[in-house]
Amino acid sequence: MAVNKILPRDDFQRLISFLRTDGYQVIGPTLRQGAVVYEEIQSTSDLPEGWIDLQDGGSYRLERSETSAFFGYVVGPQSWKQFLCPPQRKLLTAEQTGKSFNVIVYDEKPIKRAFVGVRPCEIAAMAVQDKVLMEGPFVDPSYRLARQNAIIIAVNCARAGGTCFCVSMGTGPKASSGFDIALTELIDQHGHRFLVEAGSEIGIGMVTKLALGDASESDIEAGEKAIANASANMGRTLDTSGIKELLYTNFDHGRWNDAASRCLSCANCTMVCPTCFCATVDEATDLSGKCAERWRKWDSCFTVGFSYIHGGSIRTSGMSRYRQWMTHKLAYWQDQFGTSGCVGCGRCITWCPVGIDITEEARAIRHTR
């Protein structure tokens, strides 16, 4: 499997076409309203060629780069969870029949999707959601269906974003597993090309069918160098040593109030996070009242209603909600699912309107009282 191949830039279209001919909806990065988003793509001209993103706490900006890289950006506001665990999903339809009702379970048709441009931290995020949504005693069948019908074309990171900290979380910038194919984009005196590594039977099959040439020693070296460059330039770091115990012993730390005084409880951080899975169920009836639908919708622990029980909410203060979110990500998750709930993608930092930074908050809790 560790055979490395080379895909020339001009052959990237062949990869996309191959997937499309094979019945895959190809989803990849494209530019939309000043951001890189994931949408169905038809050709390489849809890719954000020559664009990079500049990210910092509360800020995101696209800029022309010196190179014509397809994958020069890092990550945008969206993650693949919108396809695997969409913002809204119909659970069932109930139809009134006299005094009773029939339940019509939504029979979801599988969609074969090829995700192109999946970052290593995003693969890690999928593994985290797998644990929650399909590896426990109860399975979300819609998630599993989407997951099993998706193939992953990963792209290793050659450039780190301003809010990235995958190195701290052990999730990047190189994908080690969880992909069908992993690409490393190379642009140098030898041209614009991709180093290709197959990570599954499917990936090997694709590489064979594409009849790609072997990578040279220098190609492989160039790939390693590019990834090392990303490693060396992480925008953020987070010291994870004993982080669970740290947070479990600091429920009353003053920093929680400090963070809460800045937090707007807007829930952006949970919407953009690729691992957040919380959901509510909404009921919708038609005008006649004879037909009801139940929908699963993304929810956020930052709302007051989230913890509502008759008589009032459990977490009424912003302090308790920020504490819940961060403690869940970095500590509770470890006890619940044996993994961190944070993969270090930096989205919650970038898309927080006031730039609250999980790495900074964790640092403050560790180093102040």
Binding site: F18, L19, D22, Y24, L91, L92, A94, Q96, K99, S100, F101, N102, V103, V105, Y106, D107, E108, P110, K112, V132, G136, P137, F138, P141, S142, R144, L145, Q148, N149, I151, E201, I202, G205, M206, K209, F251, F277, C278, A279, T280, V281, E283, G289, A292, R294, D299, F306, S307, I309, I314, R315, T316, M319, S320, Q324, H328, A331, Y332, D335, Q336
Partner: protein
């Protein structure tokens, strides 16, 4: 080119665990001014609904919504499935309006219930407040079905007024048994009440049970459970012998929606019943 075969449905022959099954309401019993019990039978098959004491179902009222409600029936006998509900808000009030013959959606049973097994050969102290007796009633049935294998059994029950007491006829019947010790109290005496007046915790001190060989099961408002635990501790009962049932917002009941989280646990699958030793640290903190 690509070998992976698309599946037609993720779980063949297995429905979405979020789907619900219609049950027919066979009888409605008005318990108090705001609380009612419903006997239920599945519309699809006549199979007995099996569950363990303390488990709950998600009850769906057509066109309104779904809420977690404990099972209050006999887990051992022939009794139909029963839920005892207090009408407090949108869903439970809509449920209150349903009549015998109407249908309700049910999925479950979910959660970890009361430690009846652990209580074998021990004294059992059951402390309930208000609607809190509903999830504990299956424990009493289980004990009575196997009475010889338990030590002394004490039930302490408190409500606001005598009119708020659930299962009154059954309580009277149980009170006449020699193998059950039942004490009831009300916050405020009304009508012809001649019994105890005061909070339920005042009954703990004078109850006959062996604090070293007992299991206590407590369910009621959080504040009542707080004081009950304190009293039990004063009597020398160890934290790992005290069990309480926690209420949290629940949208799924099966660990998928995140709403019920209590520290690192999910109340829907790791609870709703916890030993006090397990959640002491969280129970004493606010807004967890």
């Amino acid at each position: 080119m690509v070998a992976r075969k698309a599946e037609t449905l993720a779980v063949k022959g297995q429905v979405d665990p979020m789907s619900t099954a219609p049950f027919r309401i066979t009888r409605v019993i008005k318990e108090t001014q705001d609380t009612f019990s419903m006997e239920l039978a599945p519309e699809a098959s006549g199979e007995r609904f099996s569950f363990s004491p303390g488990q709950f179902n998600m009850l769906y009222v057509f066109g309104v919504g779904e809420v977690p409600i404990s099972i209050s029936s006999d887990p051992t006998g022939q009794m139909p499935l029963v839920h005892t509900t207090r009408a407090v808000g949108a869903v439970t009030q809509a449920m209150w309006k349903l009549k015998a013959g109407d249908a309700l959606g049910i999925r479950g049973p979910y959660g970890r219930g009361w430690p009846v097994e652990q209580a074998l050969h021990n004294d059992v102290v059951i402390v309930a407040g208000g609607i809190g007796l509903a999830p504990l009633r299956p424990v009493i049935y289980s004990i009575l079905a196997d009475r010889d294998r338990f030590g002394r059994v004490v039930l302490l029950y408190g409500t606001r007024t005598p009119e708020d007491m659930l299962f009154r006829k059954e309580l009277e019947k149980w009170r006449s048994r020699f193998d059950l010790e039942i004490h009831m109290t009300v916050d405020r005496a009304t009508g012809s009440w001649r019994g105890n007046v005061g909070v339920v915790t005042t009954l703990i001190g004078r109850s006959p049970f062996d604090h070293q060989n007992c299991v206590a099961m407590v369910c009621g408002p959080e504040i009542m459970m707080r004081f009950t635990v304190l009293e039990l501790q004063k009597r020398g009962v160890n934290d790992d012998r005290i069990f309480i049932s926690m209420e949290r917002n629940m949208k799924c009941g099966i660990g998928l929606c995140g709403h019920c989280q209590l520290g690192s646990s999910f109340a829907c699958k790791d609870g709703p019943v916890y030993s006090f030793a397990e959640i002491k640290a969280l129970f004493t903190k606010r807004e967890m």
